[in-house]
Symmetry: C2
Amino acid sequence: MHTVLGSASTKVVIGDDQPFCVIGERINPTGRKKFQEQLRAGDLSQIEADVAAQVEGGAHVLDVNMGVPLADEVDLLSRAVRLAQSLTDLPLCIDSSVVEALDAGLAVYQGKALVNSVTAEDERLDAILPLVKRYGAAVIALPNDEDEIPMSADRRLELTDKIIDTAAGVHGIPIEDIVIDPLAMPIGADTSVVGVTLETISKIRAAYGVNMTLGASNVSFGMPGRHTIGAAFLAMAAKCGLTSAIMDARSPQIVEAVRAADLLLGNDAWGANWIAAHRAKQAAG
Amino acid sequence: MHTVLGSASTKVVIGDDQPFCVIGERINPTGRKKFQEQLRAGDLSQIEADVAAQVEGGAHVLDVNMGVPLADEVDLLSRAVRLAQSLTDLPLCIDSSVVEALDAGLAVYQGKALVNSVTAEDERLDAILPLVKRYGAAVIALPNDEDEIPMSADRRLELTDKIIDTAAGVHGIPIEDIVIDPLAMPIGADTSVVGVTLETISKIRAAYGVNMTLGASNVSFGMPGRHTIGAAFLAMAAKCGLTSAIMDARSPQIVEAVRAADLLLGNDAWGANWIAAHRAKQAAG
């Protein structure tokens, strides 16, 4: 199944027969105090460096999140989307928990965006899916509801079922534009959580064949050696059927792990991409 | 299922609830011209450095192979086993295609060795399994027969079935002492081969629950960026059910990938090993 995203000029295809889709997570003020202060002052200039670093690192899509306390997220997200689109041809993932901010970002976006995100909560489905449909976007959907995040793969599957029924059946969003987030949680909190995520990925892949993405950095949160954990996790997750991740595109170790996964899973014919990337790295010294 | 190997003083357990077992591949003259010349001259002194480097790198078991053209492999293997056991408490994997050499190595070995390897060929089964039984060793078995290496997982499973029937049923070798090699081949030759290996691992795990090991370096043979490919491959393979690999224990990237896999698959309680290894690395500078 192919999820096709686009900017004004560039298309990106997410699919299990495609190279793993790297969604750069960096245009996000969470945990970045200086960037937060800049955004509160209306200064978006940091985005230029963040776009450049992620394009350089090999991102296919850039996530744009402007969630800053005490700031006008609607205005910021609209401006950030326009700015990012002036800086790169890569498609964007418009990321907010505020429905009005998603609407504002989608309104100015040129092309077919990915919306991040909706949950299986009725209120969120009712508010966000009509936007996704109106703008012809694709959407990331998280299988959690009003209760806590479900800690069994089977419950995540039930909620995925609800999401697909509602998005496709009620709102008429094509199933290929529904990207499920199987929910990645910190291994440091409980060493069984990654097993549940991988089982969820395998089961969603078998049951629906839809594309999936997740926040890969969550897995290594609080642990030392984060990039090594992220690299091993993404290789495993790609093998189970994950087709994309929101991840640190500036980390060569993590990006190279998903490129190696492409090679190993037969999504890099003749190893051409792998070999070309190696030559480029050597040429760069 | 637990495969327990031992030296005179140390036990190593291979199992799906255990840390992934790293079998160091370095005590092997293949592709090492200088080492070959030394061995032909009866000089085994290089083994000292090879043992030290692999112990330092985190190997749990050391493979010992003395396959040198125009040399007396029976004598060399017997001497190499004794020398290696004088240098380390780690159990050994006694590696030869020559039955008499395996016999000589097992005869001098103190503890419970791993024999590398037998195939599903009748002649090999008949020659090697009685040795394994007599010395109370464990054995690596490759599911290929007189024909070419089978390129379907199902055929590898049929041959695994034959091996287990013969080793356990005819020769009385406990099933936990049969370690299947699901056959890793170079991705550079054909990008579908790793998919077959991973499918074989998943199916053998589901059908028999036996331990498995393979020559991990084969996968990246001839490609650039070998350690990155090896790291991603081993993470995937561990997720599918591989419990050990014969691998380059001197490569931090590959060894750290299997330690990350332990953490992610719930075989490193509280992340204690991961965190301790990180602290040791920091302390070492």
